[in-house]
């Protein structure tokens, strides 16, 4: 198991390197001078050159990349151009809030998706199966930022049950596990859960449907095993694939929550990202994307290893 983990880890390194190159290049493809945002219009050429040198922008690209990586290794992701504060601190605070949102959405989505998918797979080609298929197609087709607005219209504007924005009373950014905070979490988490419900349901439906037609299921019934015990065998066979889909979905939830965070003014990484974009704060943009992408890479690694732990057949390939 350990050797499998190490082998996978070695494969991840080039990908992580590539991710860092892309994040570094993001700043280079941006039009205009990154300093124009903060320099006064009447700055002299010497002042501009001094600023350029201070940010290391006067060196050749590979050198800039090397410096950037070396700083990164020490946890220094540079400073935000807009606020002057270290990027690392801003990003990690925001990622915590995004993670809270993503995990809440996963806690809602995965059990519902598994349940629906299993029902549809077990009762294949019945009305129930069609209903679940319709739900999952609608789930993957809905623009969730629009769904968020519709939920706000229903539950905040019309019914007045839940708040429409923020992560706590009075725009507070500090999370607490009490009703005042949790009620802010409900709408964004439910909105974010809809797409993974559709995807998980679709996957589990296909998996359980296929496994139920396999010979070993017939054999288990034939030797007199109860329906419930047979289902346990089916679940075990489906677990590895279902788990990998869910792990990827958790990564998508974290990386893809930016639109939902914008709709609900949720103070997470997506919100930080849109601020960075509009203030042309490129170091902040770069840092946020890098952290989210590396999280996604780590998530993939964990999923692969967990999959191999559950299903020994995978390790051998």
């Amino acid at each position: 198991m350990l050797s499998y983990f190490l082998r996978r880890l070695i494969l991840v390194l080039p990908v992580a390197f590539g991710v860092s190159v892309i994040c570094f290049l993001l700043v280079q493809i941006a039009p205009g001078d990154p300093l124009t945002a903060i320099m006064p219009v009447d700055a002299t050429a010497e002042e501009q050159a001094a600023m350029r040198a201070a940010y290391g922008l006067d060196k050749p690209l590979p050198v800039q990349y090397g410096i950037w990586i070396a700083n990164l290794a020490q946890g220094d992701m540079g400073r935000s151009i807009a606020t002057g504060r270290p990027v690392a601190g801003e990003v990690f605070g925001a990622v915590q809030n995004s993670l809270l949102l993503a995990i809440s959405a996963a806690v809602i989505a995965f059990p519902i998706g598994i349940f629906l998918g299993f029902l549809a797979g077990y009762f294949r080609d019945t009305l129930l199966d069609r209903a679940v298929t319709a739900i999952s197609i609608a789930g993957v087709s809905v623009p969730n930022y629009w769904l968020g607005i519709v939920l706000v219209i229903i539950f905040s504007v019309s019914l007045g049950w839940l708040p429409s924005m923020g992560a706590g009373p009075g725009g507070s950014q500090d999370w607490g596990w009490d009703w005042l905070h949790i009620r802010h979490l409900i709408l964004p988490a439910v909105t974010l859960a809809v797409v993974p419900i559709g995807i998980v349901a679709r996957t589990v439906r296909a998996l359980s449907g296929d496994i139920l037609t396999m010979d070993f299921v017939q054999a288990l019934y034939a030797k007199g095993m109860s329906r419930f015990d047979v289902l346990a065998h089916v679940a075990r066979n489906a677990a590895a694939t279902a788990l990998s889909v869910m792990g990827l979905q958790l990564g998508y939830l974290l990386g893809g929550s930016i639109l939902i965070e914008t709709v609900f003014n949720w103070p997470g990484s997506g919100f930080l990202l849109s601020n960075a974009i509009f203030q042309r704060d490129l170091p902040l943009l770069q840092g946020t994307i890098l952290v989210l992408a590396l999280f996604f890479v780590a998530m993939n690694l964990i999923v692969d290893v967990a999959q191999a732990a559950i299903d020994p057949r995978i390790k051998r390939n």
Partner: protein, 294 residues
């Protein structure tokens, strides 16, 4: 699911009615797919011919007629936050929304197919270079990658097209490479090579015809996501710029009106939803009509 049965009932295709006419016949017999196709065609036609439909000017607002509700005299679907006719803006909005929502998949289909076929056919170092580069892009969730590139490049139609095309090239390349490697291993390719045909000829004559349809089916399954992402970029303010009518942008600007006229503000999003739902169902229909299993 019903489609598979009809295909069996249809029996073996005769020499005249080839594979594609069989696919077309199966598609025509599938009501859901035909309805979705009808809706998509209607949306595209109304967008293309919008100036000749006798609609109000989608850019001309009126300060005294702002946020009129649905069913207002002269404004069937009401007016937006600047008093512009919603029906006109929704129909005109289809132009940019559908263009930016579909074009990236078309572009990525060409680029990704070329990359994937080259990687799959050439193998070796070429394959490694192309596919390892593609792997890196898979490390980004698609939404994040689109927003990252668009955010860095700034708002604009061309920038949106570029960023979304980059997002969809890697998945298409991966599928194209997988299918091509499969075909590459078959005996008739060896036979063609042994007969002295060069790589380009073998690809043109023997490979392309066998790999394009699975790549195409896969690409159609990406159109719905691309629509949602494209409108999402405009919704975030890093896609189409105002005052152009575009569904995502309209959804964004109308958010300020959710307390005044809530259902009006949900209309542009409904258009995105209907389009992406139809694209998904259409893609599923085409897939089962072509008997491609995922």
């Amino acid at each position: 699911m019903a489609l598979v049965e009809t295909s069996e009932a249809a029996g073996p295709a005769s020499a005249q009615s080839g594979y594609w006419s069989g696919v077309a016949r199966r598609l025509v017999r599938d009501p859901v797919t035909m309805i979705c196709l009808g809706i998509i065609v209607a949306l595209i036609l109304s967008a293309v011919f919008a100036p000749w439909l006798g609609l109000a000017d989608p850019y001309k607002g009126s300060m005294i007629a702002r946020l009129k509700p649905l069913g207002t005299e002269g404004h069937l679907l009401g007016t937006d936050e600047q008093g512009r006719d919603m029906l006109a803006r929704l129909i005109y909005g289809g132009r940019l929304t559908l263009f930016i929502g579909l074009m990236p998949v078309v572009l990525a289909f060409f680029v990704g197919s070329v990359l994937g076929i080259v990687a799959g056919y050439a193998g070796g170092i070429t394959n490694t270079v192309i596919m390892r580069t593609v792997d890196v892009f898979f490390a980004f969730p698609s939404v994040l990658l689109a927003i990252a590139i668009s955010g860095a490049l700034g708002a604009g139609i061309v920038n949106s097209l570029v960023s979304l095309t980059i997002v969809f090239i890697p998945p298409i390349t991966r599928v194209a490479e997988a299918v091509t490697s499969g075909v590459r291993a078959l005996d008739y390719i060896d036979a063609a090579r042994a007969s002295g045909a060069n790589a380009l000829t073998v690809i043109r004559v023997h490979v392309i015809g066998n790999v394009l349809s699975p790549i195409f089916v896969y690409a159609t399954s990406l159109t719905s996501v691309c629509m949602i992402l494209a409108a999402g970029l405009s919704f975030l303010g890093i896609g189409v710029r105002p005052p152009e009518p575009e569904w995502g942008l309209m959804l964004n600007t109308l958010r300020s009106a959710i307390y005044v006229n809530p259902w009006l503000s949900a209309l542009p999003g409904l258009m995105i939803f209907v389009t992406s739902l139809c694209l998904n169902l259409l893609s599923d229909g085409v897939r089962s009509a072509m008997n491609v299993r995922d």
